[in-house]
């Protein structure tokens, strides 16, 4: 953001414009480009997900041969066509729904996902705002989404939607704890909540061969990475933790009554959240934009490449999970969180503290 404003002030024909206006312009530009990123991310990810699921199940997935009404070669245009379809679909609001909440819910959910992108560093320079409380901000903002889910479930006036919303609330609140606790291990090692500080702290080599990413830093952070990632998957309500939208039990869970554009916002939010979890795992444990071979391929362009590569790999892992594991039962879900993840996270924190003391 500061960099963009600085660039603007250097351009001569913009010098006459008051700085407040420039600020608004820059903010709009960033917001629009982030929105484009989220939308493109969703379109590409949906296509990838359908293809990956198809190949894992020995199917072909979206396909199209020839021209005309077919969806392009290998079905490449399938999700574009789906997006257009969603845009032009009728906007249905159930007559007994709570109109205001029903309309508001998808936007709250989407904003909760969208606003987090402000704090995510894509490489050395592409970062909207490097807060002092970066990690804290992201954790706090990504929890806004659950309000949208609960409003959607409550406002739909539908028992499936309400069940889904209640499950989602229980699930997100429980998994927030191991998530934050395993995140603390990293913060203990870095001593800062700033995103760029965390990434810069992962520069160099460890044990002589491995990059000094926190996942390799010590056994406790290694476990913490998995707890963080799995809790993250649980937070974005993806299979095997998709109880809020369990198709086989709740039709579509909290978004049963939604269709068309409003439903598309739920979808955008889901895929944006997936990207956030993948990006956060990459930043906190896999070195963000740091290259795996320190000192080589370290330019900002490569930084973007490494960061996106790690994030996309983790998104792939999430899809891999989804098409491999069956859904957990509610009690199993809670058991996993409170009986396994939580104690292990506490031990992790203790272990990281001792490790840090012992080494330094």
């Amino acid at each position: 953001m500061e960099l963009l404003l600085q660039k603007f002030s250097e351009v001569s024909f913009l010098s006459g414009i008051p700085s407040a206006l420039l600020f608004v312009f820059a903010a709009t530009l960033i917001a629009v480009s982030l929105f484009m990123f989220v939308a493109v991310n969703a379109i590409v990810a949906v296509y990838a997900e359908r293809k990956i699921s198809a190949f894992m199940q020995d199917r072909l997935g979206p396909m199209g041969q020839g021209v005309g009404l077919h969806a392009g070669k290998w079905g490449l245009l399938q999700t574009v066509a789906d997006a257009i379809k969603l845009l032009i679909k009728e906007d249905i609001i159930p007559s007994l729904a709570d109109r205001k909440l029903f309309i508001l819910a998808p936007f709250i959910l989407f904003i909760g996902a969208f606003i987090v992108f402000v704090g995510i560093p894509f490489n050395q320079h592409i970062l909207v705002a490097d807060f002092n409380i970066g990690v804290f901000y992201i954790i706090a903002m990504s929890s806004i989404g659950v309000i949208g889910i609960i409003l959607a479930g409550y406002g739909s006036n539908n028992k499936w939607a309400l069940y889904g919303a209640m499950r989602s609330a229980a699930q997100i609140i429980s998994y927030e704890i191991p998530l934050a606790l395993s995140l603390l291990t990293v913060i203990m090692l870095v001593g800062s909540l700033k995103m760029q500080d965390i990434i810069i702290a992962q520069h160099g080599l460890i044990w002589g061969i491995l990059p000094n990413w926190f996942i390799f830093n010590n056994p406790f952070t290694f476990i913490a990475f998995f707890i963080f990632f799995i809790s993250g998957v649980a937070e974005v309500n993806r299979t095997p933790f998709d109880l809020p939208e369990a198709e086989s039990e709740l039709v579509a869970g909290f978004h049963t009554e939604y269709s068309g554009m409003r439903w598309a916002f739920f979808f955008l939010a889901e895929y944006a959240n997936m990207f956030i979890v993948a990006a956060m795992s990459a930043i906190l444990f896999l070195g963000g934009w740091q290259s795996p071979i320190p000192g080589y391929m370290d330019s900002p362009a490569w930084g973007l490449f490494w960061f996106m590569g790690k994030a996309i790999f983790l998104i792939f892992v999430m899809m891999w999970f989804r098409w491999t594991f069956p859904r957990l039962r509610t009690d199993q879900l809670m058991q996993m969180c409170w009986k396994y993840f939580l104690p292990i996270s506490f031990i992790n924190i203790l272990g990281v503290g001792l490790w840090d003391l012992w080494l330094n």
């Binding site: 198809a54 190949f55 199940q57 020995d58 199917r59 072909l60 396909m63 891999w320």
Partner: protein, 197 residues
């Protein structure tokens, strides 16, 4: 306590087994795909084998086809059909002569001289029950199911879907539209019987 750790161990190992299976399927995606891109690809048709050695025994039940140039309009097929889905109209014409304007050929490929001109030969395939009964009585062997032993005469067609049900009525008569009127005989006048006398 042992149970606790064995639970963790067991879940990790079993999850890894699951992940391995799906990854193997993903990696082998080129080989094992079972989807058939239907309009472009089809399953191979099984060979006709019903245990009879009759080669001419036409058991393919695909779609009826009529070689209208060979049809003499004898209506045997109409009478055989149990669901009355064949509709034929004929007019008497000069025996064995071609009528070019009505696309009528006077002599069949068997050498039979035709006495009748077919102004209408419709088969409603949406009513047809594929019983094949119309095929046997035909003296000229000109009504048959496509494909199978007849594939030299007509390629097999077993997927003749249409958007409109009326498009399933196959019209085989070749008399041009503007000539139909000319070859339709005037309706017979009803003979009035004066009951009162």
């Amino acid at each position: 306590m042992i149970r606790y750790f064995s639970n963790i161990w067991q879940s990790i190992t079993t999850l890894l087994i699951g992940l391995r299976i799906t990854l193997v399927h993903l990696a082998k995606a080129r080989k094992g795909i079972v989807t058939l891109q239907y309009p472009e690809e089809r399953w191979p048709r099984p060979e006709r084998n019903i245990g009879f050695s009759h080669d001419s025994y036409n058991v393919i039940r695909s779609r009826l086809h009529v070689d209208i140039d060979d049809c003499i309009g004898c209506l045997k097929c109409v009478r055989a059909c149990p669901v009355d889905c064949i509709h034929i109209k004929t007019v008497k014409v000069e025996k064995g002569t071609d009528i070019l304007e009505a696309n009528h050929i006077g002599i069949t490929s068997n050498g039979t001289q035709k006495r009748l001109l077919l102004t209408r030969f419709d088969i409603d395939m949406s009513e047809c029950c594929y019983c094949n009964l119309c095929v046997y009585p035909c003296p000229e062997d000109c009504i048959f199911m496509t494909g199978g032993p007849n594939s030299s005469k007509q390629e097999i067609d077993y997927e003749f879907s249409e958007y409109n049900r009326s498009d399933l009525i196959y019209r085989f008569a070749k008399v041009p539209k503007d000539q139909v009127e000319k070859y339709t005989p005037p309706p017979k006048e009803k003979v009035k019987i004066d009951v009162a006398g």
